[in-house]
Symmetry: D2
Subunit: 287 residues, 4 copies
């Protein structure tokens, strides 16, 4: 039976590793603060002392770290993945990182004979727990195939998107659409309310028709209640819009609607709402 490593046991990683263990996979875990390993060991995981040890002993090592700096440290650090990985072993980084970071990790792993997959996910805490993430993989296709049975415990949907970098691009495209949709929803709600319509009825009509979607169902009532408790921080959405617009500059794509939405999100960020939920964009739309 294949052996799997899992690096990073934050909110996402803990839920994901648990799903693998519960499904009967042979899993070795590591986390910077070692105490976070205990609940997973209790479920049946082995525990390793360093990323190096995990990468050296497992067929496929997954990682989900909080940011590019952490992703780099876990790979390039003195007892990092790179020091342990050997010929043919696989490393799947599910963190959301920038192009540059993904490219450098990919090339370093390859140079050591390892195989690499960049696999950011769409979805937050709940889908991680439920095993219903969407996995956007790019890089080594043989590794994508071999990791398939594990991916299927982590997500409800997985796609192989081509060379390293394409996973990140897909995420930008999808989040850019989401940002414009949320800005449009906010404008529609604010306009309707000023026009004497009932907010709940507007959401009701939307939910009964062609635009019915989980996002409107989730964020719509938050806008009406002016409840902006964070599940997706606004600053991250604005960053994704910024990066998507930069991609549009690079590739030569006009983005009139998305650039307007970006300016609206930017105003929300400047107004100090960056750590609130993306729904807080409504605060600069409504006045």
């Amino acid at each position: 039976m294949a052996s799997y490593g899992f690096l990073g046991l934050g909110i996402m990683g803990k839920a994901m590793a648990s799903n693998l263990i519960r499904a009967g996979f042979d899993v070795t875990v590591w986390n910077r603060s070692a105490d976070k390993c205990a609940p997973l060991v209790a479920l049946g995981a082995r525990q390793a002392a360093t990323p190096r040890e995990v990468a050296a002993s497992c067929d496929i090592t997954f990682a989900i770290l909080s940011d590019p700096a952490a992703a780099r440290e876990v790979c390039f650090g003195s007892d990092g993945v790179l020091a342990g990985i050997g010929e043919g072993r696989g490393y799947v980084d599910m963190s959301t990182v920038d192009d540059q970071t993904a490219a450098e990790i990919a090339s370093a792993i390859s140079a050591k004979g390892g195989r690499f997959l960049e696999a950011p996910v769409s979805g937050t805490k709940k889908p991680a727990e439920d095993g219903t993430l969407i996995i956007l993989a790019s890089g080594d296709q043989s590794l994508y195939d071999e990791a398939g049975s594990a991916f299927d415990k982590l997500g409800k949907k997985r796609l192989y998107l081509g060379a390293v970098g394409q996973g990140a691009r897909m995420k930008l495209v999808v989040n850019m659409i989401m940002g414009s949709m949320l800005s449009a929803l906010g404008e529609g709600l604010a306009l309707g309310l000023k026009g004497g319509l009932d907010g709940a009825q507007i959401l009701d009509v939307l939910d009964a028709g062609a635009m019915a979607c989980p996002m409107f169902k989730g964020k719509g009532p938050m806008l009406l209640a002016e409840n902006y408790s964070t599940s997706f921080p606004l600053k991250h959405m604005q960053k994704d819009l910024r990066l998507a617009l930069a991609l549009g500059e690079e590739l030569g794509q006009s983005l009139h609607t998305s650039s307007s939405a970006n300016e609206v999100f930017k105003r929300a960020l400047i107004a100090g709402y960056g750590d609130e939920d993306i729904a807080a964009v409504y605060k600069v739309i409504k006045p």
Copy 2:
């Protein structure tokens, strides 16, 4: 048993009147070209010679006409609804008309002692046939309640939105959101394709996540196939965006994202795509 009239047997009206008759209602129909009455008479409807006759003999008369001019003619014409309607009888105009037209019809009907409801619908041919329209009613609330059992055969959802005019406003708000969403989808697809992503995979990811909606499922493949066969003409969407922006001017609501989407649709209209489907907005986004 209450008696119902139905005026206007175009694509929408024919399907809607059929649903009422099949459900066992007592229905009297009229259409400008009388030959269109035959299939409904075959289903069990009575046929009347004029709108006046229908309005004078039925408890509640529904109408769905092609445009404001037709709606006015059927109401104010020499043998029109106004000439027939008596104390307490109800008139439900389901046509999509402008504020001014709705207000004039409402006030004329009231002056004759009748009751009036403006009830534009969201949905096109298929939902009309399936009885799954969304009915956005405003005006006389007692009439809304009495027409309820008939509405429930015509649509899957009905809302009472207040004074005459609010139904039309709801439709503008919802269509404004739709226009921005479609422009955003087009920008996302075009960007992704230029970035080497697969269009079907982009739609796949959207469909698996928080933005999954019937509109993307319907229009997404049309964009990829550059198939713009009309179900909702682009010129009507641009008109709704224009009217929604005018409402924003009147009510004092900033609409950065929607006004950008309107400019994109306007360019599509100027380019000559007004009679194609709203999906044809993609033609000016993609280049």
Copy 3:
């Protein structure tokens, strides 16, 4: 010698009528509050009791009223211009009015055998006093020619633009460009200041180069000083932007940059800055 009437002695009208009198023209004045006539009578003007009397006795009657309602009253009122005007006499309305008002006045004057010119001006108090207005005339061309020597005392520039309505269109086009320029100036200043540049130096560089213009020279220091004392009320600029965008809808012209500027001005209006100078748009740009 030809005789001239002048109706409306507000800030603009007083200055303009004075210039005509000082230039030696035979001028008869009228104002709703008769006491405003005194200073002009002191300069040599005759005074009349009603617009009717002025129109009946003068070859060419000029008017500059505060808004469309006042322009209508002075023309259509019981002792109005229309009651007095006779075959061949001229009426030059220099008020800024909407298309509809101008068209109705034009047609009523013509029906009585009079000749009509719509002649809104570009410029405010100072140019009115200095006789350096820009006169945008449209309507009866023979009247334009005959009024020429008077126009030349009122303005430094006059243009004949065609049929009634074209003067108003010219003003919308020019003010639309002005609104976008001011929004752009505000964005540039705000960006430069956040980037550590000196505001006065930014204005200095602009003033030394290809964008040097009286508007930047006038409004630039106001923005830096956050001095918004009104010479052109912001609400009027937003109205002109709105009307220009409506013209763009009617004529089929995409206006991406101008519609963005309009949304920025609209936010300033919503924020309550409508009665301050157009420079106050900076308040919603700067934060």
Copy 4:
């Protein structure tokens, strides 16, 4: 008497060096293609074989190179400025380069004991010949003062803007405003023409009023004539807009109007007009 070096004798450099020589300065020139030195030697310049030789023998060395790569090569190349510059000598790079390049050159020159000034210019061929450039200097202030008498032969206006990088920022701010103004002019002209106004009259009205500026006087007739012969390539303007927007992202400044103008310029670039004059943005506005 102080001695001056001049590196780079392209269109701009040749005109600028000539102005220094004609004004009686002691000038040593160098150019990659040595034959371009002859006309300047004929005017009285000395000629050097390498940038190193120039920097080692002159008190202040000016350079104006075509792009960042050339600016780097002239500084860091084996016989470059860095190899020659000694304690206290001055290097003034008047090329338009990115932040990173300017910062690296500045720091390398300082490390060798030299003094550095970044001094991009506003203005093209004609102002270079006429000595009417605008010089946007930042870096070593003592060098700015010492180079003053030379700057005054090159330009009509010079500003000291602070630390290295501020000169480039000023240029971005000014060009961002220019881009929005040109897009606004295009929209106004196109709208007016569709509305039956005469293009030359529109320009005439603009030129008589508060928006009168050399740019409208220069570009306006080009738009009407659809003459896009290049003096400022459109691709450079779009690049400046892109960089200004990136600065807005970095500093937290909303730029609704400028980002719309950028999208319009981007469409012109995508349509293939990058090498035509910035006036060619009109081609995507007009249809």
